[in-house]
Symmetry: C2
Subunit: 191 residues, 2 copies
Amino acid sequence: MKEIPPQSGVAFEMKAGQTLIVTDIDGEQVGDLVAFAKHDRREFMSSGRTIDYASKIYLSSGDALYSNRSNIMLEIGRDDVGRHDFLLAPCSAEMFRKLYGHDYPHKGCFGNLRDALHQYDIEPDQIPTAFNVFMNVPVGRSGEVKVLPPLSRPGDQTHFVAQMDLIIGLTACSAGLSNNFKFKPIGYEVV
Amino acid sequence: MKEIPPQSGVAFEMKAGQTLIVTDIDGEQVGDLVAFAKHDRREFMSSGRTIDYASKIYLSSGDALYSNRSNIMLEIGRDDVGRHDFLLAPCSAEMFRKLYGHDYPHKGCFGNLRDALHQYDIEPDQIPTAFNVFMNVPVGRSGEVKVLPPLSRPGDQTHFVAQMDLIIGLTACSAGLSNNFKFKPIGYEVV
């Protein structure tokens, strides 16, 4: 298993049929996951398509993550946690300014994804709303959204099976609210 | 007021400070709204950024619609209805095949937006999750999503005030579930 250090990110390739195992090494941490089709990077993982086809906002084992072209990019296999977020954009310097009041903000998962995906010629504007692994975002009756500590415990895993050749971006989340203000690493492995 | 015929779409420009008035002429109809920055069309309206900054999924008067670059594109002014959707991607031929079982599907709001935005050199892959005006999508306790008839009545309006120069795409929705299976026009005016 490889380790993504706290508040950083990586990008890598996966072949169709391979499985990405995301591990919450210490518990209560979030990893922002984005995916692009290797052979045409204009095709990306789409929260809007996925939520529409699933008819639900919380996805887990057996659910598919669709692209903007309505193709299945990843299927969720084993899932020890069962609560992830697909509503919120990756944290960013602008977000830390607006919501946390930081004068000298961290570049956030958005900045980490931007830097990691640069090697694959993916531009910042192409980074979509991420599938936020282990992120716990309940929606109240009036539509209010809260960011609560993840339900994941040390060693919990979620598996993603690639349905096409992919470029993946993955972070150890930089936002305090996402991980109960204890920045931690995220583990990953492609098998 | 101009009229978008049932199951069709338009694209047009707005200048900063202008107001787009969207009218549900006959009631219980939906209009899918997308926006791009006129001077750099890689900047687009982002559901993920907007929901994060608003900390809620249902937006109404006084709320801002943000771009992927965290700039405010539109602010919602008068809103006679107060229930719109920002979770679901525009309906499309693929969606009608998957969710409705149609063998010869309509091109949907996605196809209508694609055709209307072509004149502005906006590619189909750039069309994001739309702000679905008047669309009524409750989220249940377990995250299940339903598409119910809109709460809008004949003549109800929602106003959007442009905060930058914009290219707008707008439809009269093509999906039966969105409008109680009574396809209708949508009215609009820029003042």
